[in-house]
Amino acid sequence: MANFYLDNPSLKHHLHHPLMKRIVELRERNYADAEKYDYAPFNFEDTIDSYEKVMEIVGEITGDVVAPNAEAVDAHGPTLSNNRVQYAPGTVENLNAAVQGGLMGLTMPRRYNGLNFPTLTFIMAADMAARADAGFATLWALQDCAETLYEFGDEAQRRAFLPRVCAGETMSMDLTEPDAGSDLQAVMLKATFDEAGNCWRLNGVKRFISNGDADIHLVLARSEEGTKDGRGLSMFIYDKRDGGVNVRRIENKMGIKGSPTCELTYKNAKAQLCGNRRLGLIKYVMSLMNGARLGIMAQATGISEAAYREAVAYAKDRKQFGKAIIEFPAVYEMIANIKAKLDASRAILYETARFVDMYKTLEDIERERKLDAEEKEELKKYKKLADAFTPLGKAMNTEYANQNAYDCVQIHGGSGFMKDYPCERYYRDARITNIYEGTTQLQVVAAIRHVLTGAYLAQMKVYQEEITAPELSGLKARLAKLVDIYERLVPKVADTKNNEYIDFHARRLVDCTGHIILSYLLLLDTQRNPEAFRVSAEVYVACTEAEVKKIDDFISGFDMDNLKYYRK
């Protein structure tokens, strides 16, 4: 009888952030739906109360159904028969519970049978799901593809597909191919227009497709014959009911075994164009991937949560040299660090989710009416912040999930290496998070732009102003000093105008940015809730100081000529 929402007060803390007032106001359009739908809220308090109650349902399902199934799902995994995927029995139970709980299509508008919930609550659900079973979190979070279909599909497509997603049909995003991984411009799956059938036809192969046997697929394909780059790609909707796509194999993965990763063959598969031709990669998939990256941030955070709880439980229980091992500095330091990284991960996860909610909701309102000047400014501001924070948070949180799972195994000693404890599963599950939806190295490529434009620096200064609690003045002053270092350090690299040199140090600069931003966010959490976050803020800021100084030392002392020792 576990409830992953109620037993984790930090979720409630983030659900009650002051910006929620504005998000709800925008999202609910002044509660106009209350007249039309018998389940729509009628004011802010009522809305937040509904979010809480639904998060409790998620907490119950993830705690009571998904978590107890995780071990068996990991051992059993999905199977392939007659080119179709059969989920593990536990996965089927998990999906049924999620569908019965009405938890699919969380963010879809009510007119498509959705709940019209903000992204933040969807992310919170993914956070809890990943704590229970990271593989299931992948399956569940793929409902986010509906967001892309909603944004770029036409009304007929929305009406055809979105209610099906809300009723529990699953989705997939078919992007990767054997020769097109990080470089999606190389996608070759062929889309040709069939004049006789008045529809598009897809032919080719996709690889590494999560939940590849989904009911509804978004497919990236080359619609413009003779083109070679991203501008020849369009996005298509493939409906499994039409047939034409088979699963050739299910990959045998290290982790997230509950999520079937498939190789797909398309044989004249009927498909519909979604949005405009040629915008598939450059607009729609970029949007799709940004949503997916936020989902992975949540998944990583959920794994960190699981690792933290497991580490504490074991360290309290395990006795050596006459006492519980948590009494030893070597162990309690590891646990304090796991907790600090966990709280910091959650801080940037929900901050990013709020930014996304702000701009996406304003964009949605823009589909209905013209925005006023103030709203336009707001949209621009939050879109920029979401663009900057998504790669930064994805890089930080997924690396932390790996470090936390690693330390969790370490705390278990020999037992951690055995299959007897779930920590080895967390360790394997975490490993994909900093690889898929863009490796950390690619997140750095996206984030370094915002380092160089000063977008993060500007936000650090905004946070600096927002911290007003006198009891945080010490930590605040220490952070201000680190911002000074950062302000000197970035131009030191940027001013060389040497792209290779900038790329070489990019990871370090982004890490440095991440540490400082996450520190500020933890201070802001502490300001609202000192009891819950003070300890993590102290631990994390101490670590940030050491990290920033280390990076400063390395870069400041680095002779550009020494690049030759690294270069192949």
């Binding site: 389940y39 109360d49 349902i57």
Partner: protein, 288 residues
């Protein structure tokens, strides 16, 4: 064929995880120290009802519960999972009811609800463990009953086919409608609360709750939020047969018992010792 189904459900103290203060000095349950929950087997019963509703379009599931005002939670919990409505039977006069008085009050309320095809309840409540109320309600209504159900396999042609879970196996029986069925804990767990339904019904209230809350004209705008609330008079119950005065059960004495193994015996693995153990277990009827 659409069905009218009544689910009898009870709010009970959660006796599954009891702490030191679970009992009062006088040996009665300290209800304040234990969280009030939906009786577990009544949830199994509700699931059976909801499955019938899924397979028989236009069916309705009505929750009937007796208890203090806060037992309205039971109806809301039912609505969150897919029930259509409910009635709270509440009156000071019902206080102190044993199973006889409880089943009397419930059967009067069932009559007030009107025509029904099935009454489904949990086998027993975890605060009393008597398993008497369901069967007694059936007797008082003069309808057949099937107890220990694990699965209601089908309902058609005026009869229900039910799989019963018994001590040594299962039994499949059929009973004529209207019929009362009590459901075992071994039946499928109840579905979770539904996100849309919880938003729809979270403000559902009985008349006395609505008087205390300040919801403006919400209950008029959304009339489905009004929960039925009945007193003894509302269901035409004879006060003499209700509550304490209708309860022949008298508690004579309550004892605190601490479970502990009185003795333990060690046997080695020789044939002689195993033989001795077998004989002893057969003699005290543990096996055989």
């Amino acid at each position: 064929m659409s069905l009218k189904i009544i689910v009898l459900a009870k709010q009970v103290p959660d006796t599954r995880n009891v702490g030191k203060d679970a009992m009062k000095e006088d040996g009665t349950v300290n209800r304040a120290a234990l969280p009030a929950i939906f009786n577990p087997e009544d949830l199994n019963a509700l699931e059976q009802a909801l499955r019938l509703k899924d397979s028989h379009p236009n069916s309705t599931v009505t929750i009937l519960t007796m208890g203090p005002p806060r037992a309205a939670d039971i109806i809301r919990e039912g609505l969150f999972r897919g029930a259509d409505g409910g009635y709270l039977l509440t009156d000071r006069i019902f206080a102190g009811a044993d199973t006889l008085a409880t089943s009397y009050a419930l059967h009067m309320a069932v009559k007030k609800v009107g025509r029904f095809d099935l009454i489904i309840s949990g086998r027993q409540a975890i605060d009393g463990d008597t398993a008497q109320v369901g069967p007694q309600v059936a007797e008082k209504l003069g309808i057949p009953q099937i107890t220990y159900a694990e699965e209601i396999q089908s309902v058609n042609d005026g009869k229900a086919t039910v799989k019963r879970r018994l001590e040594h196996g299962v039994e499949i029986v059929a009973g004529k409608l209207p019929l009362l069925i009590t459901v075992n804990g071994s039946a499928p767990a109840c579905r979770p609360r539904n996100a849309m339904l919880i938003q729809k019904y979270k403000h559902a209230q009985t008349a006395s709750e609505a008087a205390a809350a300040q919801l403006g004209d919400l209950l008029n705008k959304r009339p489905f939020l009004k929960l039925g609330e009945w007193s003894a008079t509302d269901v035409n119950a004879d006060p003499q047969q209700c509550g304490l005065s209708g309860s022949p059960t008298k508690v004579k004495k309550i004892e605190n018992i601490v479970f502990q193994a009185k003795e333990s015996k060690a046997f080695d693995d020789s044939d002689g010792q195993i033989e001795e153990l077998m004989v002893e277990l057969i003699n005290n009827h543990t096996i055989g």
